[in-house]
């Protein structure tokens, strides 16, 4: 039995690096400090859904083959394609992504990472407006106001609040955890009394609370760290918040602009914006202006709905405005553990963070044209290589349809939806569990990933597989050139 300390969790963009694993006979048997997703990943590393052998589609069926054969077939498909897409990259190491970009350049394809369907719009806005940022460590120690807008860390980044924001114990700011526990106790007590009263006196089903009533009595002017949540649903995170603002779907843009007006001390000549009474908004605006160090985290609730990138423009501008009055930063909540790394490596090598087209021999970038969903919707690509991602499951059906129509190569550890419909499947080692590498946390801090156990026999890391495919593609191309 061996205990490995300070392991980085390769699941979400929080990249918690304090995980402790117990390894027995080459298997991880115990996970300490991790959240539910982290446990599922580490304990499930030898799950029944791992792919152990390369597969190739013959007569409509996926059949086992050798690694050499699979690599060769993959290289033939890519070398023979006119306009292949190479997609994924957010759940693998920076090193693998780097080889992937070389491969894209070699075959003249479009390379894109999953940011395109999560924070792509945020990247576009950052290019336009700029961003005021810092590390998560600074937030942990100094931020006295935390806002989560259009994101639900309790569900998607379970330890974010505890490690970096409201419930973390910083040097200058204390954890608000105790307050929260007290509040929950009070709420449970109040609910009990309410239901007893209702049962005994009213004998009718309790009425649904008015839509905008905050979960708790607003204690926004309290001492210490404050947590504000703005969302279309009262998420689990919203329940923890000191103040919750429920915005109507697709109306975030209006709300952001309203805040911008309020923090400039302008009066709003309406009663409510996006379904929220102005009185609530003033309360939040006051808290924003009066904090010493504010942090606004935003999620896909802003990038995927309504005005999309314009929402982010407004959010970035709001934070820029706030910096005239106090210190404020803004940060996107990145989902996959290395999506930030993918953006970074793409930018180093091509100049652009995602949606890069090499078909003319040099990198071109024009999201909406060279982004993978658009290429697929227009039906232009004629082959695809997917690495560590599951687009057939994650893309809108119409985009996935085109992906499936053409030769499809899948490199990844699990029998995902994409693997089930692929033509060549190459199993890979889990980065951060069975292979080492580098990943970037959501605040752009690079963190090493450890190799804790050996991968299944014969299974290689993504980087190695891609290097072999690249070599094979180069061989095919030079043979062709010689023959010509």
């Amino acid at each position: 039995m061996q205990v490995v300390k300070a392991v980085t969790c390769p699941v979400c963009g929080s990249l918690c690096d304090d995980i402790e694993l117990t390894v027995e006979n080459g298997q991880i048997v115990k996970v300490k400090n991790g959240c539910a997703m982290c446990e599922a990943k580490f304990l499930g590393h030898r799950g029944e859904h791992r792919i152990l052998k390369p597969l190739i589609r013959k007569n409509g069926e996926l059949v086992e083959t050798t690694l050499e054969e699979a690599v060769k077939r993959a290289a033939e498909i890519l070398a023979g394609a006119n306009y292949p897409v190479l997609y994924g990259w957010s759940s693998t190491s920076c090193e693998a992504t780097s080889v992937g970009i070389e491969l894209a350049e070699e075959v003249g394809g479009v390379i894109d990472n999953t940011a395109v369907v999560c924070h792509g719009p945020s990247l576009l806005s950052v290019q336009d407006v700029g961003i005021s940022s810092c590390t998560l460590g600074q937030i942990r120690h100094r931020a006295d106001l935390i806002i989560y807008w259009g994101c639900d860390p309790w569900s998607a980044h379970p330890r974010h609040i505890e490690r970096y924001t409201a419930f973390s114990e910083g040097r200058f700011e204390k954890s608000a955890w105790r307050n929260y526990v007290a509040k929950i106790k009070a709420l449970v007590g109040r609910k009990k009394i309410q239901s007893t009263v209702k049962r005994l006196v009213l004998k009718k089903p309790p009425e649904i609370k008015a839509r905008l009533e905050p979960t708790f009595i607003p204690s926004i002017m309290k001492e210490g760290r404050k947590l504000i949540v703005i969302d279309v649903r009262r998420t689990k995170t919203a329940e923890m918040a000191d103040f919750f603002v429920q915005v109507e779907p697709n109306k975030d843009y209006e709300l952001l602009q309203a805040f911008r007006a309020l923090i400039r001390d302008q009066e709003l000549e309406v009663d409510s914006v996006a379904g929220v009474p102005v009185q609530y908004l003033e309360e939040v605006a006051d808290a924003m202006v009066n904090c010493d160090f504010g942090a606004l985290f935003f999620g896909l609730g802003l990038t995927m709905s309504g005005a999309k990138l314009r929402n982010i423009d407004a959010a970035l501008s709001l934070v820029r405005d706030l910096n005239m009055r106090t210190k404020f930063i803004i940060m996107p909540m990145r989902g996959h553990f290395n999506v930030t790394g993918a953006n970074t490596v793409f930018t180093w090598q091509t100049g652009y963070p995602y949606a890069v087209d090499f078909s003319l021999g040099y990198p071109r970038y024009n999201p909406g044209e060279t982004s993978v969903v658009d290429v697929l919707l227009r039906g232009e690509s004629d082959a695809a290589l997917i690495v560590a991602s599951d687009p057939v499951s994650n893309f809108p059906r119409k985009a996935a349809e085109h992906l499936v129509k053409n030769p499809l190569i899948y490199i990844g550890p699990h029998m995902d939806v994409t693997a089930q419909v692929a033509d060549v499947v190459i199993p890979s080692a889990l980065v951060g569990v069975e292979a080492s590498g580098t990943a970037y946390r959501m605040d752009h801090v690079p963190i090493p990933l450890k190799k804790v156990v050996d991968p299944p026999k014969g299974v290689l890391p993504d980087e190695e597989i891609l290097t072999r495919i690249l070599a094979e593609v180069r061989k095919i191309k030079s043979e062709k050139a010689e023959a010509a």
Partner: protein, 135 residues
């Protein structure tokens, strides 16, 4: 029987912790399918539609239609807003248009919901067969 009740709603998709755990366990697992072939609804909306927790419902948008299980939302009230966790079921009906920026509309899609107690919720394999005729 009178006319079937139908409800106009806004469809949201997103993560849930069950979906997060399911995807780490493996997409072919029962846990995963069960965590994403459901639709969280406001209890008041469920009453209007006459569906119970676990009744099959059909959700349709301009882009497709899919049968999922209705679930009482713990995050209510959110009248006229339904929530399906990310996955092949949700993606069968979201708006693929990217409006020139590469990002499809996964959230805030207009939809209608109707009870479909006689229609089955497809398993992952059947859903894929129906959609892609491969695999």
């Amino acid at each position: 029987m009178g006319e079937k009740p139908k409800l106009k709603v806004t469809l949201l998709t997103g993560r849930t912790i069950e979906q997060g755990v399911g995807k780490e366990l493996g997409k072919a697992t029962k846990e995963y399918a069960e965590s994403v072939s459901i639709c969280y609804m406001d209890p008041e909306d469920m009453k209007k539609l006459g569906v119970k927790d676990g009744t099959n419902i059909q959700v349709s948008t301009a882009f497709g239609s899919v049968v999922v299980k209705a679930k009482k939302s713990l995050r209510a009230p959110h009248p006229s807003v339904i929530y399906i966790p990310y996955g092949p079921w949700a993606n069968a009906i979201v708006n693929p248009e990217t409006h020139g920026i590469g990002m499809p509309s996964f959230k805030g899609v207009p939809a209608t919901v109707e009870p479909a107690p006689d229609k089955p919720v497809l398993g992952l394999e059947e859903l894929l067969k129906q959609q892609f005729r491969k695999g």
